[in-house]
Symmetry: C2
Subunit: 309 residues, 2 copies
């Protein structure tokens, strides 16, 4: 077992702390070049939404994948912060009364509860927009070609053919627009690859883009990202079945109550656990081109699959 | 009077038609590289929201400013389509029940009325995201440095220090979060520069960025964009006072009913008309570095100030 493995919790929390610091700087009150003014209420609500929150798993994956590809930390952290802004926006909009109608997120009132619905909509819009501003900055990478590639991939991962489209499929699967019908396993996999998989996969691909990985390395990272994206969602669905609200910081049992399409419902708990094991093995194998220097990503895959919150 | 002047309505509708064609292609049903699937309901609602609509004033300004700066049409049209996607998203989110609660837009039911609130939120999110995808494409400009500059400026014009922030100030001015108080003329100007001015100004700056205009030209275009941004909003406020719902395709008299902060309320109708004249003159003067080849933009300024819909 190498140092990367025993170090995992420290490295996760270190990147979370650095991401927090970056987000804190990005969400300052003073307008930057090209801006006219930053309305205090919007800044306050954006800070409430984006700071003090979460494991920062996506920035972690981006920074560590980039490190495996030989990229210095500063640029990867900035790209990771941009990605985290997209993740935060998606949580806020998904929590809205018209969407999943959640009152609690990370143990605190959701943005529309702590503020109001109009503010929550604008906070999401402004976080998403800021993400593209941040990704365009030369702190991410000095080569604009790399930044443009990141922006393009991020937009496609987050947009109608990725995360936003996945949320639409999720609402449809609840029977929101038509009569409800059970999704096939394949349909559930597509829904989840879009709704949560796409951003996690992007996190990994972004590290490889920053590192200008060769074809074989890029394919390995991509396969790794796809596997842990799936593992993340299955683990999440298992937690919803087995967890409690106190540990999760959000309502538990909501998926079953809403009759949501999950692979746990389709495969059963044991089947889902077996699938998780396969995905961890696949993530492991995908990292072969990198050898032991990618062990931190191997531990991350197990962490994602076995996490309790 | 040169050809550009007599040609104005034809040129406006020609760019609108080309923008429509571009948007139609961008909003196809088939997923593109990097996307997983495009949910039919989301595509349908995005097409409803973005197609068959409006004068396409922002793409017009972008394409014509670019032309004045010597840029070929194809790239400017693609950049204009990206900008129009941002404009469309903002209309959909502003119309939401939690925001301005409008039932009618361009003479048709708003997206949340024709579909539902969750779909409308997602449509806005996905259009905004697609805008950055489109702006990152090499069809916009072969030099990624130019595309990154456009993305950065667009994000800042649209985000917390621009359009989204302006909407927040507008809601606050209605007394949504605190007790209502009359805004000063300066506060109204800031609000409007953010809410509507920033995207119009960006349209013009984007043309100059694409054309790699020199410092003097860039400053002229920027001043022009700022002036017509203001003129646009004052004309809009005058229409709200003087227009009727049938011509406008949306509710009239809403600003007064909501007690919205407008310069028409602050300056009176005659004062507002006088200010419009000054702004047209300023736009005219700002174009001095370009001489008569910018006459189309001069006519556009008058059109913006005098429009009846």
């Amino acid at each position: 077992m190498n140092k990367g493995i025993t170090d995992f919790p420290a490295r996760l929390s270190s990147i979370a702390a650095e991401t927090e610091k970056t987000l804190n700087q990005l969400l300052g009150e003073v307008p930057i070049a090209g801006e006219i003014a930053r309305p205090p209420r919007l800044v306050t609500a954006m800070r409430y939404a984006a700071l003090d929150g979460g494991k920062r798993l996506r920035p972690f994956l981006l920074v560590e994948t980039a490190a495996v590809c030989g990229v210095a930390r500063a640029g990867a952290l900035m790209a990771g912060a941009a990605l985290e802004l997209v993740h935060c926006y998606s949580l806020i909009h998904d929590d809205l009364p018209a969407m999943d109608d959640d009152d609690l997120r990370r143990g605190r009132p959701t943005v529309h509860k702590a503020f109001d619905e109009a503010t929550a909509i604008l906070v999401g819009d402004a976080l998403l927009t800021l993400a593209f501003d941040v990704m365009s900055r030369d702190e991410v990478h000095t080569d604009p070609k790399i930044r443009v590639a990141l922006i393009s991939e991020l937009a496609r991962a987050a947009g109608l053919g990725g995360m936003a489209g996945g949320q639409m499929l999720d609402l449809a699967a609840e029977g929101r627009f038509d009569s409800k019908r059970a999704l096939t396993e394949k349909e559930i996999a597509t829904l989840q690859a879009m709704k949560t998989g796409a951003l996690i996969r992007f996190a990994c691909r972004a590290g490889a883009i920053l590192g200008q990985a060769d074809k074989v390395e890029f394919a390995g990272i991509d396969r790794y990202g796809a596997a842990i994206g799936q593992a993340f969602q299955i683990a999440d669905d298992l937690l919803d079945v087995e967890g409690d609200a106190k540990t999760l910081g959000k309502a538990a049992g909501k998926d079953a109550a809403a009759g949501k399409a999950t692979l746990v419902a389709a495969l059963g708990i044991d089947g889902a656990r077996a699938r998780l094991k396969e995905l961890v093995a696949e993530a492991d194998a995908a990292l072969a081109p990198f050898g032991t220097k990618s062990d931190i990503l191997r531990v991350a895959a197990r962490f994602v699959a076995e996490r309790k919150t």
